[in-house]
């Protein structure tokens, strides 16, 4: 087990940031600095070609100052002290100061935050990672004659950042790993695809898929060639954790990002302290989940990570804030101020968002459905915080008849509905739990790594 440290460029600038913030605060009532560094590796192996390459590397910093009414920021794609000093000087000069209250940076703290890694990716060479992908490619390629291409990809991103505010100097280092096997299958007429993903924060231990899972993937991919389109209508359904998770994320997560409250875009604002779902439903956002893909120890505005309970037994308890929304709404901050990079502003964003585990065995969830659909493997979703509509797309739906899965598949399956109706219809919550990573946008941009998940859920939903 190893602890991660800051890359040298960030280590060199760490001690100089407080001075820049102090300079800013000679003019502005609140100042802050964030310096970031990310570097990655991508490895891809398919039937026809392979690649080992650096994933696009980025380094930069953003200086922020509150002018009495709003934030003004200058960002530069450099960690050179003179570049940052120049940006700080320019920002101080262009501030449009106005009278008014200002955010507070929080209590003093000076700490580097990191978590130990089991198999540190730095101890393995790019050749090791290529061979890992080649082994999985060889293992999966011959599993079914319908496979026309198998693509194995490994992505590793080492992210580090330093935040400086008045009295606060915090830093963190995190490595995110995504490992995916994608199968393209064909019967000569139709083409389909199916995939398996492993992701998380940590080390190479994440990139492991068992042989029986590979065989199941190949069998399911081939079976998808016979998948039909589902008859539209309302169904009793069972969600797997990936579908549960995207429902949690899209249906309620985006709608409780508190910048939406400031902008008048959140219907959830009318439901604070009120019931919005079944008493079986508990929903959390927790950036501290060990090893989850959306985890972090420090948000991009200097707030140390901590879990937030959004729904407790179906009642809306609190939302997720960034600095601006917490200040404007006069509510406590949560550690959800996140940026796509130094190039973009911070917004209130989710981290790992999930339904809490229940008590019902998964077999019993399915056995309790007379006629319905088992939905698994989410491919996308979209929020509607004002209308409280929701769209989630599952790659696979499997018919349930008489409490049993029949093997009859549908693909893809769209799940739509009105959020309170969906949450109120939850009739059983599984005793399992899994998280699935991905990248989340705000609207159509501002991508940040997140995960979502939970247990299997049984509920009613409109499918199409």
């Amino acid at each position: 087990m190893t602890d991660s440290v800051l890359p040298p460029e960030l280590e060199a600038i760490r001690s100089r940031l407080p001075e820049m913030v102090a300079d800013l605060e000679r003019r502005a009532p609140y100042g802050a600095a964030l310096a970031t560094s990310s570097a990655g590796l991508q490895v891809a192996v398919s039937d026809r070609e392979s690649r080992v390459s650096e994933d696009q590397r980025s380094q930069g910093a953003v200086l922020s100052a509150w002018n009495g009414a709003f934030l003004q920021e200058r960002a530069v794609g450099s960690l050179a002290p003179e570049a940052l000093a120049g940006a700080a000087h320019a920002l101080a000069a262009e501030l449009e100061l106005r009278p008014g209250p200002a955010p507070e940076p929080g209590p003093p703290r000076d700490e580097h935050l990191s978590r130990p890694t089991e198999i540190d990716p730095r101890t393995q060479t790019p050749r090791d990672k290529l061979e890992l992908c080649q082994r999985y490619h060889a293992a999966v390629r011959g599993l079914d004659p319908h496979i026309v291409n198998a693509m194995v990809t490994y992505n590793e991103t080492a992210e580090a950042k330093v935040f400086a505010g008045r009295g606060r100097l915090l830093s963190q280092s995190i490595t995110r790993i995504r490992f995916q096997i994608l199968l393209i299958v064909s019967d000569g007429q139709k083409v389909q695809r199916d995939w398996l993903m492993r992701d998380g924060t940590g080390g190479l231990e994440i990139a492991h898929i068992a042989d029986d899972e590979l065989r199941a993937l190949a069998a399911e991919a081939a079976a998808l060639l016979g998948a039909g389109r589902i008859e539209p209508g309302f169904y009793d359904v069972v969600f797997d954790p990936t579908v549960s998770g995207v429902m949690a994320h899209e249906a309620f997560g985006h709608g409780v990002e508190a910048d939406m409250f400031v902008k008048g875009r959140a219907r959830a604002a009318e439901y604070l302290g009120k019931r919005v779902g079944s008493p079986l439903v508990n929903l959390l956002d927790d950036p501290t989940v060990p090893g989850a893909y959306g985890s972090y120890l420090l948000d991009d505005e200097g707030q140390v990570a901590a879990p937030t309970t959004i729904l407790r037994e179906g009642v809306f308890e609190r939302g997720l804030t960034d600095l601006y929304s917490a200040f404007r709404l006069g509510i406590p901050r949560t550690a959800n101020g996140r940026r796509q990079g130094y190039e973009r502003k911070a917004y209130a964003r989710m981290s790992n968002t999930f339904f809490a585990r229940g008590t019902t065995p998964v077999d019993e969830l399915i056995a309790g459905v007379e006629r319905g659909v088992y939905l698994r493997k989410t491919s996308s979703g979209m929020e509607d915080p004002k209308g409280w509509g929701v769209q989630v797309e599952a790659n696979i739906g499997e018919e349930i008849a008489g409490g049993r899965r029949t093997g009859r598949l549908f693909s893809p399956v769209g799940i739509t509905g009105y959020v309170p109706d969906i949450l109120a219809s939850v009739s059983a919550v599984g005793n399992d739990f899994a998280l699935d990573g991905g990248n989340c946008g705000k609207g159509w941009k501002e991508w940040v790594p997140v995960s979502s998940g939970g247990p299997h859920l049984r509920l009613k939903a409109r499918l199409g």
């Binding site: 070609e49 392979s50 009414a69 794609g77 902008k263 979209m382 509607d384 769209g414």
Partner: protein, 443 residues
């Protein structure tokens, strides 16, 4: 940095070819929460993207193979250039791909990609747009502004390679993103959200955009649910752009890509129908990969390898005529290199938009999806209807909720395309398409 990089690439052992892209970016961003500023920022960055190509005997068989790998160098990296290039050579040497060449020098077309109005005073443009937006919203009764974002960006690119390519181009882009709220007398509120990306200021008609989005927000207030069944469906504007343009890549571009043909993912064949077995009954589909469309978001004088931008006929009357092909995959498939796809250009059809609803009984017209990301491999799609209209003869009522699903390639076999065209950033084509039958999952 630049000269040192060239010297290092020239003398480092194992660098058999190289490509160097210098990208300088300046971004001005302005945000409103309600009517008030929320944030104002400026961003400047510079990076050198180096791709190194290494030729070596294959690990198995011994024939010559080529690998390539990228590294990014940033300001402050001067002392690490040698080590970074050696790292790239090491990574490139790990993979045994079939050999391919880099493009050589070429005459590049003149393409409109940089708007002087955006280049000159980006901060002023952003603030002016905010002012014009607030003014336009003030003219809409019952409508207020929830939020707005304005990005004025400029990218300057210089491209060189070991075979003599030398190109330089500036590209601007403008993003306008805003959310309007409508409120009825009972206090119910709805929103309409739009995000517009264009290369030039002239591509954004803000008053018209506000008028349209305000009407969408008002219509959403009184929208009901659609019925369930299979119905004729018109999809228009941004919703059509999403359907044809896809999320990361248009399904039409994906299927006609030499790369995905080489990978075995596209089953399309030159000279064969693109309708996945469906017998065409609609307007014939003709598609161009247009990388030289004036002000197109996908336009450029050259692609990332240095292949000149061009307008390529990909599909003619529903038959695949060409695969669009970057240099590498052109050689793998033994087709001419055409460069990047650029923008999706679809030729117009035979039906006026005003005639699309005539004589078909119950019909749905979708103007906004919550999300529409057709699967480029299968062509299947499903998307929630954020706003649409149900038409029964002269009766029109707004609808929302439920989903629309189908298969894009089969649907296009039977689709009627509008005579009128629209330019939406990286799409030039029919303003609306009528599909004779798609599945609606509603009440």
């Amino acid at each position: 940095m630049h000269d040192h990089l060239l010297q290092t690439l020239g003398h480092t052992s194992g660098v058999h070819d190289w490509r160097l892209r210098r990208v300088v970016t300046a971004s001005t961003q302005y945000y409103l929460a309600g009517r008030e500023p929320e944030n104002e920022r400026s961003v400047n960055s510079e990076r050198f993207e180096v791709e190194v190509y290494n030729d070596h005997p294959a690990a198995q068989g011994g024939e010559m193979r080529r690998g390539s790998a990228a590294v990014t160098l940033l300001p402050g990296d001067e002392a690490r250039i040698d080590a970074r290039i050696r790292q790239a050579v090491f990574m490139a040497g790990l993979t045994d791909n079939p050999p391919f060449d880099l493009p050589g020098p070429a005459v590049y077309p003149q393409v409109l990609t940089a708007d002087r109005l955006l280049e000159a005073e980006p901060a002023r443009v952003a603030r002016d747009l905010a002012g014009r937006l607030l003014e336009a919203v003030a003219h809409e009764p019952g409508i207020s502004l929830a939020s707005a974002e304005f990005f004025v960006d400029r990218h300057e690119m210089e491209l060189e390679n070991s075979r003599g390519v030398n190109g330089r181009e500036a590209r601007t882009s403008l993003l306008v993103d805003f959310v309007l709220l409508a409120r009825d007398e009972a206090g119910h509120e709805t929103e309409s959200h739009v995000e517009v990306r264009r290369r030039a200021l002239q591509g954004v008609d803000l008053p018209e955009l506000v008028r349209r989005q305000a009407q969408y927000a008002r219509d959403t207030l009184r929208a009901g649910e659609p019925e369930t069944g299979r119905f004729p469906v018109i999809i228009s504007g941004d919703a059509l752009h999403q359907l044809l343009g896809g999320s990361f890549m248009s399904p039409l571009a994906f299927r006609s890509s030499a790369r995905f043909k080489y990978e075995g993912v596209s089953r399309w064949e030159l000279g064969a129908s693109v309708y996945d077995g469906a017998t065409p009954t609609g307007d014939p589909l003709t598609v161009y990969a247009n990388a030289i469309l004036p002000w197109g978001l996908g336009s450029g004088a050259f692609d990332e390898d240095g292949v000149p931008g061009a307008r390529l006929q990909v599909i003619e009357h529903g038959v695949l005529r060409s695969f669009w092909a970057p240099q590498r995959y052109a050689q793998y498939l033994q087709v001419p290199p055409t460069g990047a796809f650029g923008n999706l250009e679809v030729l117009p059809g035979s039906l006026a938009v005003a005639d699309m609803w005539q004589g078909v009984g119950l019909l749905y017209h979708v103007v906004a999806f919550s999300s529409m990301m057709p699967d480029p491999v299968t062509g299947n799609f499903v998307g929630e209807i954020r706003l649409g209209y149900e038409r029964r003869g002269h009766e029109v009522r707004p609808i929302k909720g439920g989903s629309l699903s189908g298969n894009l390639f089969v649907g296009l076999a039977h689709a009627r395309l509008s005579q009128e065209t629209v330019m939406l950033g990286d799409y030039l084509g029919p303003q609306a398409v009528r599909f004779p039958e798609l599945t609606v999952s509603g009440r």
